[in-house]
């Protein structure tokens, strides 16, 4: 079915694009645009469920709700991965901050006590 190709392709494209160009202004803008489109689609789907079903029919899915479900899975996976990567990035900054503090408070051995 066509839907399978569409879902797989969109997952791959999203992953590649966002993982490759993370952090750049272009990606940030891309995320916002994608989000806007996603919201617009949500509104459209809510107002005209029958139209969504028609679109679903085009790509080989039985019902519009199923199409939405499939799309949600892709978006959710992508969002989870994105949050994971962001967390790792923050963790690294946090580690560097803590390291700087640790190094500035380092204690060399006091010779009186050593041996």
């Amino acid at each position: 079915m066509l839907i399978q190709y569409v879902l797989v392709a969109s997952s791959v494209v999203l992953l590649v694009v966002f993982l490759r160009r993370r952090g750049t202004a272009r990606t940030a803008a891309g995320t916002k645009l994608a989000f806007v489109l996603f919201v617009l689609f949500g509104i459209f789907a809510a107002l005209r469920p029958n139209d969504v079903s028609v679109v679903a029919g085009w790509v080989g899915v039985g019902r519009g709700t199923d199409l939405l479900l499939y799309a949600m899975v892709v978006v959710f996976t992508f969002a989870t991965l994105n949050i994971y990567l962001r967390f790792k990035e923050i963790e690294l900054r946090y580690a560097r901050l803590a390291r700087t503090i640790a190094l500035s408070n380092a204690e060399p051995p006091s010779d009186a006590r050593a041996d």
Binding site: K88, A98, A102, E107, R113
Partner: protein, 229 residues
């Protein structure tokens, strides 16, 4: 002054109060320069370290072993006169004699880093499950095999100033071993292995990383190249 004024021992420490004092005192019989990175221990590891005469760097919060090693290396490389650097476990499972043999190699041979391996000769002292896991990790990593390494997760390493200057561990937890292998490959450090003996005491076994953590390591390593820089 000892025979090794240009060597720095880097010991990441997390809640090792029962043993760290002896480990440091034993190491200081041979090496003057020992820096312990207390990774936010909740016991009195820090006092034990101070009393044993090591340099003490304290993380204000617990960050993980990878972060502690990076901190120790950054401290040591900023001190004057350091030419060789050793990562050494705090739980007493590494042998000073092994360190000396590795130092000899990094001094006399054309290598940048010497990594300890448990898989030369008799391996019967390694618990069989641990052996299986460590072997699997190596098998799953084409990079490790290409570099001719047999034990990527050995904590005992000796390296020169080039490596110390370039070392940049970004994975805070236990995945740093894989990250170091990756750095060896990418930065073209010349690497050799040296057979070492790991003393598996009840203490070190209880403290050692669990097998389950292997899953975390694989996952973090796969995603690492995306997150860190």
């Amino acid at each position: 002054m000892s025979d090794w004024p240009d060597v720095w021992l880097i010991v990441p420490v997390f809640n090792e109060a029962p043993v760290i004092g002896d480990v440091v005192r034993n190491a200081r019989k041979t090496f003057d320069n020992v820096v312990c990175v207390d990774d936010g221990s909740r016991d009195n590891s820090a006092d034990e370290i101070r009393f044993a005469g090591a340099h003490l760097v304290r993380h204000p919060v617990n960050l993980g072993q990878g972060a502690a090693i990076q901190t120790g290396v950054e401290y040591a490389r900023a001190q004057p006169g350091g030419r060789y650097f050793v990562t050494f476990d705090a739980d007493g499972q590494h042998q000073i004699d092994d360190v000396l043999a590795m130092l000899e190699r990094v001094r006399s041979e054309d290598v940048d880093i010497v990594v300890g391996t448990r898989f030369h000769g008799d391996t019967s002292h390694i618990p069989w499950f641990k052996r299986l896991i460590l072997k699997t990790v190596v098998l799953l990593s084409p990079r490790t095999r290409r570099l001719g390494l047999t034990d990527a997760h050995n904590g005992l390493r000796v390296f020169n100033r080039t490596v110390a200057e370039q070392l940049n561990i970004t994975l805070n937890g236990m995945s740093h071993a894989s990250e170091i292998v990756e750095m060896i490959d990418r930065r073209n450090w010349r690497v050799v292995e040296e057979p070492v003996t790991i003393l598996y005491t009840d203490y070190s076994m209880a403290k050692g990383q669990s097998v389950i953590n292997g899953v975390n390591i694989v996952f973090e390593t796969m995603l690492k190249s995306r997150a860190g820089h």
